[in-house]
């Protein structure tokens, strides 16, 4: 059962809820985050927003609640998550025993350097490693790391201004897709963005108020063998319209894996309707699977997510999400569908509670039911 825990867990970088985009009146993710495409450690503007606008009871969103003032060129943070999960996959051996476990423990730091350069890194723990010792199946031996320490992200950035060009190099997820926090969604898990699958990248891009462009070349970690095993490139272009209430994006990803090359063309959209405090969003990706073997040839896959998030009162998000992953468009029953409900509450700055309900329907197979409750605190 402990495997379930590891599988269900492993959070994304904290604070990276794409639902904040547009719904807060902000169009660009890097208005609150240090990363050009959002995610990870938040900047002083993001901390102020956390304290004043995003939490129900408001407070001080600064590092350590404002007890310690850091120099402006240096920022640190941490994310701690604990969770309870109950999962029913109709497993006669493991049943549905609830499990409580630590979900994330990461430290994050960012240092600004002269001339628009900066360094960013995280250090935390990963859930499962190969055990130490001399017993390894000979055929499956690879020189891999047995350390439980993991740096999900470490990168160097050149970005002279928050608007304009940037170049980034290091380990992180290439800008792609809706970037939902939940890695179990098909648009993350099945498109190369599952938990701990960050790749080594070189990105170049341009940010403007109305649009942004990110181009990334990526490769796997050949030393530790942790993360994506593919190599290729990613392109993402987003256009924002109507005073940052609508965002439309096109994206592509070409990845060379073992036995198959994957070429993705996708579109996504977000629309915020202020009168009903609701954000509508959707992503559809067409995946061309080009197998090395002529016996198989080329097949088509479709992965999609669509849903809405309502913000009924300050600090509360209610999200409904539908998903579809059809492994082969020519075979109707080679698919999963899923329905999710998320309740996120940010009562005070630095604090979050999340409840997740998920139903997953493999065509012709056994339904999987998941309930997850997590508490999240970040410095």
């Amino acid at each position: 059962m402990s495997m379930l825990v590891v599988l269900a867990l492993g959070a994304s970088d904290a604070n990276a809820y794409p639902q904040w985009q547009l719904s807060t009146g902000l169009g660009r993710c890097n208005q609150c985050h240090y990363a050009p495409d959002g995610g990870g450690l938040i900047n002083s503007y993001g901390r102020d927003a956390d304290g004043d606008e995003l939490s129900t009871f408001q407070g001080n969103g600064a590092f350590l609640h404002g007890l310690v003032a850091l120099p402006s060129f240096f920022a640190i943070g941490a994310d701690l998550r604990g969770a309870l999960v109950v999962e029913d996959v109709q497993d006669p051996i493991h049943g549905t025993t609830p499990h409580v476990f630590p979900m994330q423990a990461d430290l994050e730091a960012r240092a600004a350097l002269p001339a628009g350069f900066s360094l960013y890194g995280t250090l935390g723990l990963r859930g499962r490693v190969r055990t130490g010792g001399p017993f390894v199946p000979t055929q499956n031996y690879q020189p891999i790391s047995t350390s439980e320490l993991i740096s999900r992200e470490h990168w160097a950035l050149w970005q002279p201004e928050s608007l304009g060009p940037y170049v980034r190099a290091g380990r992180y997820f290439a800008p792609f897709g809706l970037r939902l926090a939940e890695h179990i969604t098909y648009i993350r898990r099945d498109l190369g963005f599952n938990v701990l699958e960050e790749s080594y990248n070189i990105s170049a891009g341009y940010l403007f108020n109305e649009w942004e462009l990110h181009l990334t070349a990526f490769a796997p970690d050949f030393v530790r063998h942790i993360g994506s095993r593919e190599k290729g490139f990613v392109g993402y272009f987003e256009r924002r319209l109507f005073d940052d209430t609508v965002a439309l994006a096109g994206q592509t990803r070409y990845a060379i894996g073992d036995g198959v090359e994957k070429f993705i063309l996708g579109v996504l959209a977000k629309v915020y309707v202020a009168p009903i405090k609701t954000l509508f969003f959707g992503e559809v990706d067409s995946v061309q699977l080009m197998f090395d073997s002529p016996l198989v040839g080329t097949r088509e896959q479709l992965v999609a997510a669509y849903g809405l998030t309502v913000f009924p009162v300050r600090g509360v998000m209610l999200t409904a999400l539908g998903e579809r992953n059809q492994l082969d468009l020519a075979v109707r029953d080679s698919a999963w569908s899923a329905a999710n409900a998320f309740f996120n509450w940010f009562p005070y700055p630095h604090c979050e509670m999340q409840l997740v309900g998920r139903l997953e329907f493999p065509a012709g197979g056994d339904t999987a039911k998941t309930f997850l409750a997590q508490l999240h605190y970040f410095l």
């Binding site: 379930l4 130490g132 499956n140 047995t146 063309l265 198989v296």
Partner: protein, 202 residues
Amino acid sequence: MLKSLVPTVAAIALTCSMGCGSSADDRPAVWEYISPAIFQPNCATVSCHSPAAAVAGLDFSTMDHGYTSLTSLWVWIVDMNGTAEMGCRKVNGTTVCQKGSRPLVTPYDPSQSLIVHMLRAQGAARMPPDRPLPEADIELVEKWILNGATWAGRSPFDAGGGPSPGGEDAGDGSAEATNLDGGAADHAGASSDGVVDAPDAR
């Protein structure tokens, strides 16, 4: 080009959001498809059967490692009668030898293949443990087994020879104690009968 692509993708999405395609499965039942399309994305996640974790010694991240994991994995098993000439060695005073484990597939017989029992959660722990596979994918695996579970000139029947004496060491101390005998592979990584848990060599 983008102007034509966007409506095309949107049309496909609308059409297929409730399911499209045929009820007939024309996919080839070969490892060249099953590994990259089914086993790698579903089983080789970082914390499971990837090189980084290789839970139960199984690594499905490549066609080669995946095929080996299913058909011919060797494991270190306690054997007090083992000798160095047999490729055995002492670890913390205990003699261990590499021996072939029970393959997860039984060629030509899906009903006797442990991997099928796991995919269906029939008398074995569910695999993948967080999301059952669509029936069509399981049936494709069964069809491959029914056809002999071969790949690139290899067959599960090739596994009988076992490792050469003094098999390759895990040079950096990384390892996984594994025994698939006697039922489901213990996906929690603990040892089953006959296998000594590896001491931490770091």
